[in-house]
């Protein structure tokens, strides 16, 4: 398995300014309910990585892979079972540290929950800025700035229950910026947003990183990760399945071939026929055509054979292609599942 481990930062305390987030051998198991008969769930299993100052780091993985659990441990909401997590040089397991860490980090979770619906946007921000003990004199100016940043100035005095989903999501981000955090965790920040608003959110994330905020992001959208993230960790079933820059990850699949076949009809049966020779395949429908991407197990040239098998589905195009992040992701995750 092509696992790369590049120790960008070690646990040397002198390295702290360089790496606000250092994670080593992190594990967390959730105990099953008594009498439920279910086994305990190992949510995160021996994960190590580090994030540099001002970097946007991506945590990718399928649902239930342990992304959110990891973020919760990194944001002091959950205490790890084993391993170390150092946030801004402070160990999260040491009692008392969490208060100091919390002043300097924040978290945005995707989805609609997490705001007081009966309060206006401004009242929400005011409440949270008080919980961060922000000077009363500075609050009004700060809140106006935040509202402008997320383009909600016009809706500032409207109750959150009347916000659209995109507005709520931007309000989440504003809420998470009230303490001007040095580290911002974003748990699927663009989930359920329309493409235009999602793009605005990505621009905002980029801007925050450029101004020095360290960002750890989880997402399902590969193009988003490819666009934003300097480095990425792919996790599957709580374990690391790949770690590095997009280019480095692409290196891990250098020895394999990706073939893309575009057909008129759904080539499902053909895909089943060749399943023995491929490490993974994925078919997507777009623009009335079917695009099947296949990753071969070895470099054997089976293009002519594929041509024959797929011919009855009306081949529009067939040929080798460069691996995308999505190919790598699907390959690493399916490798882990098998």
């Amino acid at each position: 398995m092509g696992l790369l481990f590049i120790p960008h930062c070690d646990s040397d305390p002198m390295a702290v300014p360089e790496c606000p987030i250092i994670v080593e051998h992190l594990s967390k198991t959730f105990k099953a309910r008594r009498r439920s008969g279910l086994p305990d769930k190992k949510a995160v299993d021996d994960i190590s990585f580090s994030v540099k100052k001002g970097e946007i780091f991506g945590l990718l993985g399928p649902n239930g892979a342990g992304k959110t659990t990891t973020i919760k441990m990194l944001s002091t909401l959950l205490i790890p079972d084993s391993g170390t997590v150092k946030i801004l040089g402070m160990d999260v397991t040491v009692s008392g540290n969490e208060k100091e860490i919390r002043k300097r980090i924040n978290l945005v979770s995707g989805g609609e929950r997490g705001l007081y619906y009966r309060l206006t946007g401004r009242q929400n921000l005011k409440f949270f800025s008080n919980l961060y003990n922000i000077d009363k004199k500075k609050q009004d100016g700060l809140i106006d700035d935040l509202l402008r940043t997320v383009e909600l100035s016009d809706a500032a005095d409207v109750r959150v229950e009347d916000y659209s989903r995109g507005m709520k999501q931007r309000m989440h981000i504003a809420r998470a910026l009230v303490n001007d955090p040095e580290i911002l965790y974003l748990d699927e920040p663009t989930i359920g947003l329309d493409p235009e608003i999602a793009r605005d959110v990505r621009i905002l994330i980029r801007r925050l990183a450029d101004s020095g905020t360290t960002i750890l992001l989880t997402t399902h959208y590969m193009h988003e990760a490819e666009e934003l993230c300097g480095r990425i960790m792919i996790i599957s079933k709580g374990r690391s399945a790949g770690y590095g820059t997009v280019a480095e990850l692409k290196e891990t699949v250098r020895d394999t071939n990706i073939i893309e076949i575009i057909t008129n009809d759904d080539p499902h049966h053909a895909v089943v026929k060749i399943s023995g020779d491929v490490s993974y395949s994925n078919t997507e429908r777009s623009g009335g055509r079917y695009c099947t991407r296949i990753q071969l197990k070895d470099k054997a040239d089976i293009l002519p054979r594929l041509n024959t098998i797929f011919s009855e589905y009306g081949i529009r195009k067939i040929g080798y292609d460069e691996p995308t992040l999505e190919d790598i992701y699907l390959s690493l995750v399916s490798e882990d599942e098998s």
């Binding site: 205490i79 919390r102 978290l107 609609e112 007081y116 409440f127 949270f128 008080n130 003990n133």
Partner: protein
């Protein structure tokens, strides 16, 4: 303690209450109806102006305050759990108890309204006026009693953080205070169970209230109002200290088990 968080939570609770009074109104209903029942039962005793009836009205006020306090402290965290705001709160450097304290102070004020509601309707429906013997002592004492209930509420809200079944816990906890505070009948009728009343701060408050309001009321002890007051204050401090310790333990626990955000 973050005082800004306390005052902001107080305001937040106020805004939410005014936007959505239906969450708190239910808490008025049961204690109000209990008082009506008690008045009907006592009116069988005879004279509507008898001290027994007046003590029932006062006790009804205390019932009203407690119903509200329990409901509000149970609901506050449940609401955040449901609303998904518990995580953002936990994420701040402010302790959960600061937020709950601020909200409790608002709830205390609403509790006072509940008490007044009972007093007014006793006057209107039954013609039992609350003519207080010593008003100068009575009102401060009413507010003190209210805070003693709030301190129990604060302690219990720790329990509500732990459970998803907050409504069930509320239902189970509602009556013990009604019974043991001696609000609607003298603690002496409890016989062997009376000592439970002695460890409840509001029982001392109720006792002091009745002693100031009603001529000829027999105090719980022979030591008089000052003693009752001192006992109430002492027990309140014990409750608050217990609440702080409980919250510390619980916050650590939920960080270990990760069960807080389930609804």
């Amino acid at each position: 303690m973050n005082l800004k968080a306390v005052s902001s939570s107080f305001k937040q609770q106020g805004i939410q209450f005014l936007a959505d009074p239906q969450w708190i109104i239910p808490s008025i209903i049961a204690p109000f109806l209990f008082t009506v029942v008690a008045l009907y039962m006592y009116s069988g005793v005879g004279d509507i102006d008898s001290p027994v009836v007046l003590t029932a009205v006062l006790g009804g006020g205390v019932l009203g305050m407690w119903g509200n306090m329990l409901f509000a402290s149970g609901f506050t965290i449940t609401y955040d759990r449901y609303n998904g705001t518990i995580e953002p709160i936990m994420l701040t450097p402010t302790h959960l108890i600061d937020v709950i304290t601020g909200r409790s102070i608002w709830n205390t004020l609403i509790g006072l309204l509940n008490a007044v509601l009972v007093f007014v309707s006793a006057e209107l429906i039954f013609g039992v006026g609350v003519s207080v013997a010593e008003p100068l002592f009575f009102f401060p004492m009413l507010i003190m009693t209210l805070f003693s209930l709030a301190s129990i509420g604060l302690m219990l809200s720790a329990l509500f953080v732990l459970t998803r079944a907050s409504f069930v816990v509320m239902t189970i906890l509602e009556f013990p205070i009604y019974v043991f505070s001696g609000a609607l009948f003298p603690v002496s009728v409890l016989g062997g169970l009376a000592p439970i009343s002695y460890v409840l701060a509001p029982s001392w408050g109720v006792d002091a209230l009745k002693t100031t309001a009603v001529h000829g009321h027999e105090s719980m002890t022979e030591f008089g109002i000052a003693f009752s007051l001192a006992m109430m204050l002492f027990l309140m401090l014990v409750y608050i200290a217990a609440a702080y310790i409980l919250f510390r333990v619980i916050e650590r626990n939920i960080r270990e088990s990760g069960t807080l955000v389930r609804y």
